[in-house]
């Protein structure tokens, strides 16, 4: 039994690096030319992206008939992917805003990267509604403006709420991320040697000079933004859940959907952040900045949110029985034992059962096992959206209109392409901007803050 001394605070950054060392370490990927491995990784993601582009090309040329969507299942892969990627995008703001408000210092090492991931995931997610309308070049009509047709969008429709929520989320996340970057860009500017780099950093650091008169306002703005981002991040997946839950389709109309979707989003987002961070900390030697303790804490959040999702599954089942409404009861029996039982049980085992292994401390701290579990979580969360979308639609009130949904190759290509799109951005990000916040890490290095004993 290992003993932990509860009277001491665990250091966020291990090994007491000097501030100079932190500077050099975080800026190193930006100064060095990418190596062979980087190009191999980029080639893989670009190939995936290309496959997706081919799928999209076929879709645009021949129409959405290339997909597996059929008459009752009008929402196939595109909506599943949309919800999945928006969900991935939730961890970033959660880490950077909610954990910031809770003053969890361990977030400082992973916040920047997670925010970047949020932006890329939301960009990926945003593609799918546009594709799904069939004519993406007409998507401008989703935005309400006084137009020549004297028409307004339907503000009562959750799909329009989605447009507002996702675009607001993207904008605010981007601002939040950029505001966080300003001091780091100034630090990079001051150490840049080439003139081009220096000019670029000068422009984007907005004249920052680490002045305390600026820090004061800057910290306040950061706090305000975090205060806004927190309800925003809840609202986004809540509104995504409204897409389903305001309808009267059995299996969609359930009052627990909003918190359940948010928990699921955080769950999958954390799993994705954890997956990518495992590589980042290894490749860039950030093991003492993104410590094993940090990963363990993330795993604890994964088990917490995973259990919340499990709670929601259980409550849905119980309420379906308790309600006494027959279509509702049938839907849930159909989910577990109907034609899509395979998807349902993949979902349950990946989302609820496997994360329970994190109760064991050894597993929580073993990098290979936690990686596998987090991958399974992402698989499970993708299937959760699949189960919700497809099972409810494929068998609703009228048995005469039931149909089995079968995805096509084009569906698969677009899904693969979305991963390619996302990871291409991630790769470009790691080489162009500091993936760990320099200023925030410096502020939590042991000895970085004045000791309070004086006063």
């Amino acid at each position: 039994m290992t003993t932990i001394d509860y009277s001491q605070e665990l250091p966020v950054v291990e090994g007491r690096p000097t501030l100079q060392e932190i500077n050099e370490l975080i800026a190193k990927p930006l100064d060095t030319k990418p190596d062979k491995k980087y190009y191999i990784a980029l080639a893989i993601t670009l190939t995936m992206l290309l496959i997706g582009v081919i799928g999209l090309g076929l879709t645009f040329y021949y129409g959405v008939g290339m997909w597996g969507n059929n008459n009752p299942v009008g929402w196939g892969f595109p909506i599943v992917n949309f919800v999945f990627w928006v969900g991935i995008g939730h961890a970033g703001t959660l880490i950077s805003a909610i954990l910031f408000l809770f003053r969890q210092k361990w977030r400082n090492g992973i916040a920047r990267f997670a925010e970047g991931m949020t932006i890329f995931a939301v960009m990926t997610a945003g593609l799918f509604p546009l594709i799904h309308v069939g004519r993406p070049w007409l998507a401008g009509y989703l935005i309400p403006y006084p137009n020549q047709h004297s028409l307004w969008v339907d503000f009562n429709s959750p799909l329009v709420w989605d447009v507002f929520a996702v675009s607001t989320y993207f904008t605010v996340s981007f601002i939040f991320w950029y505001v966080g970057l300003i001091p780091d860009l100034a630090t990079l500017r001051d150490r840049a040697t080439s003139k081009i780099k220096k000019t670029i950093y000068s422009i984007f650091s907005l004249g920052w000079r680490h002045s305390n008169r600026h820090w004061q306002h800057y910290e306040m703005v950061y706090l305000v933004l975090a205060g806004f981002a927190t309800p925003l991040v809840l609202s986004v997946h809540t509104i995504v859940s409204f897409d389903f839950a305001v309808s009267i389709l059995p299996g969609w109309h359930s009052t627990i959907f909003p918190p359940y979707f948010v928990a699921g989003a955080v769950f999958s987002g954390f799993a994705m952040v954890q997956n990518v961070l495992i590589f980042i900390r290894k490749i860039f030697n950030y093991e003492h900045i993104i410590t094993l303790d940090t990963l363990e804490k993330m795993n604890k959040i994964i088990i917490l949110t995973g259990s919340m999702v499990g709670y929601a599954y259980a409550m849905e089942f119980f309420t379906a029985w308790y309600s006494g409404v027959q279509p509702e009861q049938f839907t849930f029996i159909n989910r577990a034992f109907g034609p899509y039982a395979w998807a349902y049980w993949i979902m349950v085992s990946c989302n609820v059962l496997f994360p329970q292994l994190f109760w064991i401390k050894k597993i929580r701290r073993s990098i290979p096992i936690m990686f596998v579990i987090a991958v399974l979580v992402n698989v499970g969360m993708w299937f959760e959206r699949f189960v919700i979308t497809v099972t409810s639609l494929s068998r609703d009130f009228l048995p005469s209109s039931w149909a089995y949904f079968k995805p096509t190759l084009v569906d698969g290509a677009i899904l693969l392409g979305s991963f390619g799109f996302f990871f291409t951005w991630i790769l470009l990000f790691t080489k162009s901007l500091p993936v760990v916040s320099i200023a925030e890490i410096k502020s939590v290095v042991p000895g970085a803050q004045p000791s309070h004993e004086e006063h």
């Binding site: 605070e9 408000l101 809540t238 109309h253 909003p258 709670y311």
Partner: protein, 393 residues
């Protein structure tokens, strides 16, 4: 600055005990009188009484477990306040008796002849029947009391032994407690509040009750901590960073409650299914309309703006006032949930309601006083205590 924390045990002010006894006696008399005049109405009030006490007691235990699990230190110096409030769990079985003896007045599904003629209710009968209901309620109380007993015992033991392993043990207890807490509080709320209207159902209801519970218990803890701190009961007292943490949690859960309440309302309002809207329609008719609008104002709008700004969250006076306000809001919320079943249209609260409120306050003061005079008010053996006192954001 010494490493040893100097703490001398002080008794609570004597007038607390007096106030408690007076309120308790007055409340008890009023409650007995009300049972003599109107059994049905009193039983409904007794349900509110029970669920409110559960909120405070169980919510406090939840906050204790959360502190252990999250490794929070700022709340360690005040954990005892939560522990004393959690001892309300012991008297819950007593608090349940008045409504339990009148189940027939409160719960529609106990009328077997009605259930027989109603397809929906007879389908629910395997769950909603008196024996199973009794077993569940006893099981919930038992489980909570067991967890309360072990967690507080370890914490008290630490005062003398200063053994860090006790913290670890409590961490384990808390980890087991949280999932069990989630399930028990859900089914408790379904049994005692949702099944008042047995045809109605809402998947989110457990979370709704949890939101109110966490908020109300945090408000109770905040009020007592600020009040006791004024009289210097904590070692070095609170600084603005502590106040801010209390204020931020209150504010956060205020929003969480509003979020859950709004989600539940919007989804039911939007889908407009008759089997679901009945619950809200009831609260939208007659006088209940004013209660519903007041609920939004009392439970969200006023405290939201009162606690919005950063200085407001650090202001002890405002915190004290707003925590009392929030406690009232939670009582009002539970009342709003249960009473429309008793009287569907015109309804005005009267002396019966007042009696139950007085009794609730009296019970809470007495239980807190009893524990606070028996045990140390500061967990002096806790390894996190010093960090908690020196806590800065």
């Amino acid at each position: 600055m010494s490493d040893v924390i100097e703490y001398t045990k002080k008794k609570l002010p004597a007038n607390w005990n007096k106030t408690g006894i007076v309120l308790f006696a007055l409340g008890l008399i009023l409650v007995i009188l009300s049972f003599m005049t109107d059994v049905s109405r009193s039983s409904f009030n007794a349900v509110v009484f029970l669920t409110f006490l559960t909120s405070i007691g169980l919510g406090s235990l939840f906050w204790i477990a959360t502190e252990y699990l999250s490794g929070a230190v700022w709340s360690t110096p005040f954990r005892r306040v939560a522990e004393f409030l959690a001892s309300l769990l012991i008297i819950l079985p007593l608090a349940a008796l008045p409504s339990y003896f009148n189940l027939h007045d409160v719960f529609h599904w106990t009328h077997l002849e009605v259930v027989k003629g109603d397809a929906y209710l007879s389908a629910k009968q395997p769950y909603l029947n008196v024996p199973f209901f009794t077993i569940r309620t006893i099981a919930f109380f038992l489980i909570w009391i067991i967890f309360y007993f072990y967690i507080t015992r370890n914490s008290l033991k630490q005062d003398t032994t200063k053994d860090q392993n006790l913290t670890k043990k409590n961490l384990r207890w808390s980890a087991i407690f949280i999932p069990i807490f989630a399930l028990t509080i859900t089914f408790f709320s379904i049994d005692w509040l949702m099944s008042l209207e047995p045809h109605w159902f809402s998947t989110i209801f457990g979370v709704y009750y949890f939101a109110g519970t966490a908020l109300a218990s945090m408000a109770a803890i905040t009020y007592l901590v600020v009040k006791l701190n004024e009289k210097g009961y904590f070692v070095e007292g609170l600084v603005s960073d502590h106040y801010y943490s209390f204020g931020a949690l209150l504010f956060g859960f205020l929003n969480f409650w509003a979020y859950i309440a709004f989600s539940q309302f919007l989804l039911i309002w939007y889908a407009n299914l008759p089997e679901e809207t009945l619950w809200f329609l009831q609260k939208w008719e007659g006088n209940w309309l004013y209660f519903s609008i007041l609920l939004i104002i009392i439970h969200f709008v006023v405290p939201y703006f009162a606690l919005l700004s950063q200085p407001a969250k650090m202001d002890p006076k405002r915190l004290k006032f707003m925590s009392l306000w929030i406690l009232f809001a939670h009582y009002f919320d539970l009342y709003w949930i249960s009473m429309p079943t008793y009287s569907e249209f015109a309804f005005m609260p009267g002396w019966i309601e007042l009696g139950f409120i007085i009794l609730t306050i009296g019970v809470i003061i007495l239980v807190f006083n009893w524990k606070a005079n028996k045990e140390n008010l500061v967990p002096i053996g806790d390894p996190k205590l010093k960090r908690g006192i020196k806590f800065r954001l």
